[in-house]
């Protein structure tokens, strides 16, 4: 378990270092995600890498543990709303309406595009 968590943190650390070092406009943890994915894929090709946390479901178990309570991790930032009560008193209704409308429009645009494109592809394959 310590090695698996260590590997996850190491991927994030390398991600952050590369992003800062090269001035890339992407978040460090996202690069860390790509790095861990590459490690997992390489493990299947090259047996020598399959050791430590990359063996016996080590890093997989640790990751599932982190993701099982993903919602919890947003609570501290969410409580930050107490600092914004003045702004919410003056503009709260407008802000909430704007965010609510935007999230509905975004959900619909994404899901309908996804379905449309996958249907078009299926039709092409059928021909």
């Amino acid at each position: 378990m310590p090695a698996s968590l260590g590997l996850i943190l190491l991927c994030q650390l390398i991600g952050e270092a590369v992003v800062r070092g090269l001035g890339l406009p992407l978040p460090g943890p996202v690069l860390g995600l790509l790095l861990l994915l590459v490690l997992l894929l390489m493990r299947d090709r090259f047996a020598p890498i399959a050791r430590g946390p990359l063996r016996n479901d080590g890093v997989e178990t640790a990751s599932r543990g982190l993701l099982a309570h993903l919602s919890l991790l947003f609570v501290p930032a969410g409580v930050g709303v107490v600092q914004k009560l003045d702004l919410l008193a003056s503009h709260g209704i407008a802000i909430i309406l704007v965010l609510a409308l935007s999230v509905v429009v975004t959900l619909l645009a994404t899901v309908l595009t996804f379905r449309l494109v996958s249907r078009l592809l299926k039709q092409q394959d059928a021909r």
Partner: protein, 240 residues
């Protein structure tokens, strides 16, 4: 005890231990209630943990800074949890590769809609300029959105609140909305949840369906990339 009976409280209320304990216990309770209500969208554990802890801070006159000194240990795990998304992605790689084209097209459509809609609506609502800028990156996960807000000289703490509110509203609305559109493809439904409502949408998607959760996690990561480029562009073009 000859000490002031409040001295224990004064000591504890300044220590990280108390606020970390409160965060975990309140969330454990709201999560148990959510489970008992068979994951009803309105029983969203983040929403209820947020207002209960917020009310507790206001009643005890505790500053957010003091609270965060304890809660930061939980907040920190957002980064490693993002890295951990590599695992469900890896385990479902065949399904992901076979849906790469609809995913990428939906990613572009969704990211553009998320940023443009919020900027245009906020302008129409007559919100002040710094509020409009702070709301613009609201569909990406908290850490990334706050970074974007900083680069725009907006208010990152307002952005964090907008991100969480967006996530909660998205997580509440996604299931009833998707049922109404009649889309039964859990890849598409999950992808939309993660794109529009980042990690909170992804947490919701994992509650509903494993495949939906995987696609939601991918959408959340990809959207973090695209939005980092898109927001500065949209702000230049759309904000007066």
């Amino acid at each position: 005890m000859k000490d002031n009976p409040f001295s224990l409280w004064v000591y504890l209320s300044q220590s990280p231990l108390l606020w970390l304990t409160v965060t975990l216990l309140v969330y454990a309770t709201t999560d148990a209630v959510s489970l008992a209500m068979r994951r009803h969208p309105l029983a969203n554990p983040v929403l209820h943990a947020m207002w209960i802890i917020g009310a507790f801070l206001l009643l005890t006159g505790t500053s957010y800074t003091t609270y965060f000194a304890g809660a930061q240990f939980v907040h920190f795990l957002l980064g490693p949890a993002t890295v951990a998304l590599a695992v469900p992605l890896y385990e479902n790689r065949k399904r992901v590769v076979s849906s790469i084209v609809p995913m990428l097209v939906a990613l572009v459509a969704g990211s553009v809609t998320a940023v443009v809609s919020v900027v245009v609506l906020a302008e129409l609502a007559g919100l002040p300029r710094d509020v409009v800028l702070s709301l613009a990156p609201k569909s990406v996960t908290a850490g990334v959105a706050m970074g974007i807000a900083e680069s725009l000289h907006a208010d990152p703490s307002l952005t964090a609140v907008a991100v969480i509110l967006t996530g909660i509203m998205g997580a509440i609305i996604v299931t009833p909305l998707m049922n109404r559109t009649g889309v039964t493809d859990y890849r598409a439904r999950g992808f939309a949840a993660g794109l529009a409502a980042h990690g909170i949408g992804t947490a919701r998607a994992f509650q509903v369906d494993e495949i939906a959760g995987v696609f939601s996690g991918i959408a959340m990561s990809l959207n973090a990339l695209v939005t980092s480029f898109l927001v500065p562009l949209a702000v230049t073009l759309l904000v007066r």
